[in-house]
């Protein structure tokens, strides 16, 4: 059974997510270093933290006629959304928030990225930034509906939008086992909402980093942190909705949650190293004509099973 933590649980939520984010960044950097044949893979482990320190040191910059409030607000908004998306995700038996519509809450917080990324692209008064921002909206229009249908499948299976109910409904069998399409689409859309490769076209090198093109210093650090936090929140939600949350033998529930989230996160980062960047001129049709019908059929299958 999942219990609500006292108020200090809310204080632990950001640090826990940040720890996952750092671990994922370390894994990502180790994979890059291995592929590049750089010496001392151990040095790669420290690279994300050293990079963060470097960004604290780096001079901030403001471009000509930039829309500064909207631009600076984008990173903070993204970071806040990344943390709040995990409000209803249980860690083992504890959850910081418990809403009867927890799944919808996660959905709403994750949508905040639409606004944040577009604003980051708009704010700098830079042609490349703008192109990146608009690419993300096109991406959102493509991944969001499959994402929502993937979210409804476990809700139908559990007959509830409360995340705790979804976790306990997987007592016998994890939803990932009998809702594989929804699970895989959910994972893909988590990569898309955190605009990580293969869905990194909004920050791709062909536009000199897209929405990231003009960001430097601590502004860049906050935005990138928000992006990792969003990915961690997505991985955590995947564990709660599809992999039985904290369920598992021998080990305590919280440790199972941690291990499963780490595994999902590692799989997502690894997939990013294996797949090329997906452009929306190709993906939009695939999302609308293959992923939406596939997730709908999955939802139909689940609802036939529950009645």
């Amino acid at each position: 059974m999942i219990e609500l933590t006292p108020w200090w649980g809310a204080l632990l939520l950001p640090p826990v997510l940040a720890a996952f984010a750092v671990a994922a960044a370390v894994f990502d950097s180790a994979l890059t270093a291995r592929a590049a044949g750089a010496p001392a893979p151990r040095a790669a482990a420290g690279a994300p933290l050293r990079a963060a320190g470097g960004l604290l040191l780096q001079q901030r910059r403001r471009t000509l006629a930039a829309d500064a409030p909207l631009w600076r607000g984008a990173g903070i908004t993204l970071a806040a959304a990344g943390v709040l998306a995990s409000l209803v995700t249980p860690l083992g038996r504890w959850a910081v928030g418990d809403l009867s519509v927890g799944i919808v809450w996660f959905n709403a917080m994750e949508i905040v990225a639409w606004a944040a990324v577009w604003l980051a692209g708009w704010g700098a008064n830079s042609a490349f930034g703008l192109v990146g921002g608009y690419r993300f909206i096109a991406q959102g229009l493509s991944y969001e509906l499959p994402h929502m249908f993937a979210l409804t499948a476990p809700a139908i299976g559990a007959g509830s939008l409360r995340v705790a109910d979804v976790v306990s409904a997987q007592d016998g069998l994890w939803f990932a086992v009998w809702m594989p399409v929804a699970f895989l689409v959910f994972l893909a859309t988590v990569l898309a909402m955190a605009f990580r490769r293969p869905f990194d076209h909004p920050v791709s090198r062909d536009t000199a980093g897209g929405v990231l093109a003009e960001l430097s210093g601590v502004d860049r650090l906050v935005f990138l942190a928000g992006r990792w936090l969003l990915l961690v929140s997505g991985a955590g939600m995947a564990v709660a909705l599809f992999l039985g949350g904290g369920a598992g033998p021998l080990l305590p529930a919280w440790l199972w949650s941690v291990l499963k989230t780490a595994a999902v996160l590692a799989a997502l980062v690894w997939a990013g190293h294996r797949l090329p960047t997906v452009r929306m001129d190709r993906f939009a049709e695939l999302a609308w004509l293959v992923l939406i019908p596939a997730t709908l059929l999955q939802a139909l299958f689940v609802s036939i099973v529950v009645i």
Binding site: A38, G54, L57, H201, S204, R205, D206, T207
Partner: protein
């Protein structure tokens, strides 16, 4: 405690390499050094802290480099690598400057030289007959994964290129000849294999296939450093097969940037981006098959200046109405070697 110095010493180096006509050897040396040191290249000046100019610049190219330098935030350092064998030393010196907080603080207070004030965007007719705002967006000379010395002055509406004009920079400093053949003391076949691998690496980077791109760069460096062909055959074949058979790449690149036969392209530049990628990957493998032999060369015709001439003449037609991402992939797949144009009459 000197927190600033402590962070400075641990700062990861993020180089932005500016390719310059005539500086291919310097660029290759700089890229190899950066890669083996784990310095991953930056995508924009805001991300970079080390500006690496690979070759000798002059005139308009120098001005472009200076503008990029002006827009880099502190800490920053620059390295001008005139000769390939000086690359390591120059990069060492630049790194020392980068980590010197005293110099960096002094430098950070220098005032930025303002450029001309931008105007409001004008309007023009778009592809579908609407009157829309248009922006002038030059591509090159300083842009990640971009051919040395090439500038495309494009007019864009949204992310669609309406028209493009070619300009070539930095040809005054080039002594002529094709840089790939003699470089590294290798044979023409080694040079050719490296050239194909270099093209594929840029193209794969832009396509977001990071792993395949890094592998291509490692193989390129190994080929040029003269590693025995027997050691290279296996990895190169695996890489080439992986690139050619990858279905995500096929789905993403097929039909992109098509070059019709009525444009009379050089045979190895015909087809779409995917066809060119596969052709170059195959050619790199074939060139390596008997690496140190002489004889007929696979892939590129060997007439680099003819290829480059055709490319810069045809690019404006190919790019009109194309989306920015498609345009970048198209240019990378044609990969004109601008420095081969020295001594020819250039009619962009």
């Amino acid at each position: 405690m000197d927190l600033r110095g402590w962070l400075s010493r641990r700062l990861p180096v993020r180089p932005l390499v500016v390719p310059v006509p005539g500086g291919t050897a310097s660029r290759l040396a700089a890229e190899r050094t950066c890669r083996t040191r784990g310095w991953y290249s930056a995508a924009s000046p805001a991300e970079a802290n080390l500006l690496v100019v690979a070759g000798a610049t002059d005139g308009a190219l120098e001005a472009a480099v200076e503008r990029v330098w002006q827009s880099m935030p502190a800490p920053r350092a620059r390295a001008a690598i005139a000769r390939a064998e000086h690359a390591e030393g120059q990069l060492d010196a630049a790194e020392a400057t980068l980590r010197d907080t005293f110099r960096q603080r002094r430098q950070a207070t220098e005032t930025v030289h303002p450029g001309p004030e931008p105007e409001m965007a004008g309007r023009g007719e778009d592809r579908d007959g609407l009157m829309l705002d248009q922006l002038t967006v030059p591509l090159g000379p300083v842009l990640p994964e971009w051919p040395a010395g090439l500038v495309l002055h494009t007019t864009v509406q949204g992310d669609v290129i309406q028209d493009a004009r070619v300009e070539l920079l930095g040809l005054g400093q080039v002594s002529g000849g094709t840089p790939w053949w003699p470089y590294g003391g290798g044979t023409p076949r080694r040079g050719l294999a490296a050239r194909h691998l270099d093209t594929c690496a840029s193209l794969l980077t832009l396509a977001g296939a990071g792993r395949a791109a890094i592998t291509a760069r490692r193989l390129r460096d190994d080929v040029l450093l003269g590693r025995p062909a027997a050691e290279l055959t296996g990895p190169l074949r695996r890489w080439s097969a992986g690139v050619r058979r990858s279905w995500p790449l096929r789905w993403l690149l097929s039909g992109l940037g098509p070059v019709d036969d009525d444009l009379a392209p050089p045979p190895h530049l015909a087809g779409d981006v995917l066809a060119r990628l596969r052709r170059f990957a195959t050619a790199a493998e074939e060139a390596l098959a008997d690496l140190d032999e002489d004889g007929a060369l696979p892939g590129r015709s060997g007439d680099e200046s003819g290829d480059a001439q055709w490319t810069i003449e045809t690019l404006p037609r190919l790019l009109a109405g194309s989306e920015l991402a498609a345009a970048r992939l198209l240019v990378a797949s044609l990969d004109p070697d601008i420095e081969a144009l020295t001594g020819r009459e250039v009619r962009p």
